[in-house]
Symmetry: C2
Subunit: 183 residues, 2 copies
């Protein structure tokens, strides 16, 4: 019952899209997955090596002739595809705990002035509204990056999740601020 190494699957998954290099994967993650996942270079490059070692991916050192700029291109193997599909089909047994700093602070807010909490809520509200704008950007990314109709469909579904939950949080922020403000 060892903990799953998600990074492995993120990379395998990205190899089924247009991503071929560690660098482009990082880009993709930072733009399109940033509201529900993140990965650093410190994980990407080592994991890529592991995948090759395990026969789940293949690397082709691409050095365009006289072009000395190093660029490694990876592709998923048949075995990698199976591993990915296997993981995609495995049921999710429990909802992970999403650590929320704002809620943690609010939980102990008896210890500070009420205005302090309102202040925290206000800036959180602001951050959430900014995120709504990010979703617009992602929507455009999706339209330009999707490899086919199928990818786009699922990407928009995840995006919808983001929008809805963000909107719910915004509403909660606004109502809570209103409630704390009077009285």
């Amino acid at each position: 019952m060892s903990k799953e190494n998600y990074t492995k699957y993120v990379i395998l998954g990205l190899l089924t899209t247009h991503c071929r290099s560690g660098y482009s994967m990082k880009k993709m993650i930072d733009t399109s997955l940033n509201y529900f996942w993140k990965v650093s270079y410190g994980q990407i490059y080592p994991t890529l090596k592991v995948l090759v070692d395990e026969g789940l991916a293949e690397m082709s050192d691409v050095v365009d002739d006289g072009n000395k700029r190093e660029k490694k291109e990876y592709s998923i193997t048949e075995k990698g595809q199976e591993e990915l599909r296997d993981w995609l089909q495995r049921p999710i047994v429990s909802i992970p705990v999403e650590k929320n700093e704002l809620l943690l602070k609010l939980f102990f807010s008896r210890n500070v002035e009420k205005d302090c909490s309102i202040e925290q809520l206000n800036s959180y509200l602001h951050l959430q509204k900014e995120r709504l704008a990010v979703y617009q950007t992602i929507e455009k990314m999706i339209q330009s990056y999707s490899t086919g109709l199928e990818d786009e469909r699922y990407w928009l579904i995840t995006l919808d999740y983001g929008k809805r939950t963000t909107n719910a949080v915004i509403e909660w922020c606004e109502e809570t601020i209103r409630m704390l403000s009077k009285n």
Copy 2:
């Protein structure tokens, strides 16, 4: 710009409620904070020691007379209170990325049958509905545990956040399942 050690603040915060021992803190976390935070014994006990070392908490070894059962009771110091309040007032600069396994899987679901995704959504929906029931339990906990009116107020605010976002997720699940099912 070192990463904050939240566990420290969780424990300091809990010391301002009725929690006095590591064991009872774990209980509290697992019942009332479980939808936005979790901490294991492997963090609690060492952190408790650190807090004492730093003068933020005090320990009184309690061995009820002939009672050999070991039980350590902790309390927050004046310095600890300040440290906590200081942290509570520090603004939250960014929304952390809440890793979501379901969204990750959906994002790459082009690689599996549509029914597989619907299946995943269904079980996720089920988990979310179970969570709604958990909130009822927490609400009761709050009423029995709160040390005063002030604590209760903030605890209900965080609970409301949980309910609202969970409801938003449930709606998204249901609509997405419906959408994927036809066509």
